[in-house]
């Protein structure tokens, strides 16, 4: 594997290999010295064009636990504010010869694009509404630890599907692992034709009792979803996951950060059925496994596909 750009690129065996390796890395976090020398001398560049706390910090922790060097680059306070393009930024930063670039942008396809411009391994940490593959991998890891087996499970993904890259990656990943996925939410927040991915669609939560796993998505108010909804109160009334809608045999997941009282009620967030903190913990070990997979071993990258960076 040269890059991690999307779940679409991975088959079930690759997903299983990464989450199984992640289980080995979990043990490192319990040691007196929470660090192994595996990626000593490798450099990981975090390039974030969007706000992110947990994804960026968990990539940073993951890289540091593997002894890689980490450089963080956020678009605010940088040359991006002076008008530098993505391509020029990537080419400039490539001069530091990073071994991996972790990229978060609001633009779908950006990770795939930069993988053609530089010789580093590229990890997509979220590209617009397209994909967020490491989130899906950590969710698969968390569910496997919790359920033992994902194959055959019924998983409901609830909320704003349209604006959610997490939804896209998770629909694909859960299905590749053999689960039956249903998406549910207001019709204005479910893209037309989403069934083409192989999932079922529901516009109400009446049948949610059949789900083994309820995966609630964040209402992304910064993406101006209000215009697609009569009101947030209306959303809460029809789609909030609360104690009335969640039964004791179901588990609850959420990619964070949670809007308490909107997509989830406070009581379910704090209940033992919520795997939300387990998901955060999984974030570090799964990203360790991803960096290990991409950076251990001699690069297989074909030099002809990865030309020496040149400023255009």
């Amino acid at each position: 594997m040269n890059h991690l750009l999307s779940i679409e690129d991975l088959d079930r065996a690759a997903i299983e290999r990464i989450v199984e390796q992640a289980e080995r890395f979990a043990e490192v976090s319990d040691r007196e010295i929470k660090k192994v020398p595996t990626l000593r001398g490798r450099m990981v560049l975090n390039l974030f064009y969007e706000a992110s706390t947990r994804t960026r910090s968990s990539f940073e922790i993951a890289a540091k636990r593997l002894s890689a060097d980490v450089v963080n680059f956020a678009s605010s306070g940088s040359s991006v504010e002076k008008g530098e393009s993505l391509k020029d930024t990537v080419l400039t930063l490539s001069a530091h010869k990073p071994d991996a670039i972790v990229l978060r942008t609001p633009w779908a396809g950006a990770a795939e694009l930069i993988s053609r411009w530089c010789s580093a391994a590229v990890v997509n940490a979220g590209d617009g509404k397209h994909e967020h593959p490491t989130q899906a991998l950590l969710d698969v890891y968390t569910l496997r630890r919790h359920l033992g087996e994902i194959s055959g499970a019924s998983i409901w993904i609830v909320g704003d599907i349209t604006h959610s890259r997490v939804a896209r990656s998770n629909i694909l990943a859960f299905q590749k692992m053999g689960a039956k996925v249903t998406v549910a939410g207001p019709p204005t927040l479910i893209p037309r034709g989403i069934e083409a991915l192989g999932c079922e669609v529901r516009y109400s939560l009446e049948e949610i009792t059949g789900a083994d796993v309820v995966y609630a998505l964040r209402m992304q108010r910064e993406r101006m979803i209000e215009s697609s909804l009569p009101s947030l109160r209306e959303y809460v009334a029809c789609y909030q996951i609360n104690a009335r809608r969640l039964s004791a045999r179901q588990v609850l997941m959420h990619p964070g950060p949670v809007n308490r009282g909107i997509e989830l009620s406070g009581e379910v967030i704090d209940s033992p059925r919520a795997l939300i903190t387990a998901q955060v913990e999984a974030g570090v070990v799964v990203r360790m496994a991803v960096l290990y997979e991409l950076l251990a071993g001699t690069p297989e990258r074909n030099p002809s596909q990865a030309p020496e960076p040149q400023l255009a």
Binding site: Q21, E23, R24, F25, E27, V28, R31, E32, I33, K35, V36, P37, T38, L39, G41, R42, Y292, E293, A296, G297, T298, E300
Partner: protein, 184 residues
């Protein structure tokens, strides 16, 4: 055509391990400070057997662990792919203990170096000793074993294979000759 020579059969392996267990007990009479750690994968099975024998010899439960050295390899950047990792299990405090590291074959010494480095991430052992079923020579690092089941003079072209009954169905140490095909 390859030739395989058995240098230790099942009985030989059993006797070698018994002798190592006695030597460990002799040099470490204070069982409360002792711990055994096997290196994945076959070293871990041998460590398990040594621990059971030491339990009898010292009338004490000796803490047992196993270690995967994948994180500590010195060739991570040189091998073609990412090596498959196994979990390590060291569920006792290694600090202030004498830890006997167990492996099947001692060769260049690089695995042992990685194991020592790994061990120190769990704490600060008082002493680290090394037990191996077979020492085939050709060290590339200043590492020597404290307990040896069998010294095997070999050439670099030969392959030394250890089989353990837990994985392979039977115990044996074999040498495959120079142009030898890998053993099944």
């Amino acid at each position: 055509m390859s030739k395989q020579k058995i240098v230790l059969d099942g009985d030989g392996v059993r006797r070698a391990l018994t002798r190592i267990a006695h030597e460990i007990a002799e040099r470490n009479p204070r069982a409360e400070n002792l711990a055994i750690v096997g290196i994945h994968r076959r070293g871990a099975y041998l460590a398990n057997r040594l621990q059971r024998q030491l339990r009898e010899l010292l009338s004490a439960e000796i803490p047992l662990g196993d270690l995967d050295i994948g994180f500590y390899r010195d060739d991570v950047a040189r091998r073609p792919g990412a090596p498959v990792l196994h979990a390590s299990h060291i569920e006792f405090d290694v600090t202030a203990r004498t830890v006997v590291v167990v492996d099947d074959v001692l060769y260049t010494g690089r695995t042992v170096r990685a194991a020592i480095e790994a061990l120190f991430d769990y704490g600060r052992p008082e002493r680290v000793q090394l037990a191996v079923l077979a020492d085939r020579g050709h060290r590339e690092l200043p590492i020597r074993p404290d307990y040896v089941g069998k010294n095997l003079p070999t050439s670099r072209e030969e392959r030394v294979n250890v089989q353990v009954r837990e994985l392979d169905g039977h115990d044996a140490v074999t040498i495959a000759s120079a142009n030898g095909a890998p053993t099944p």
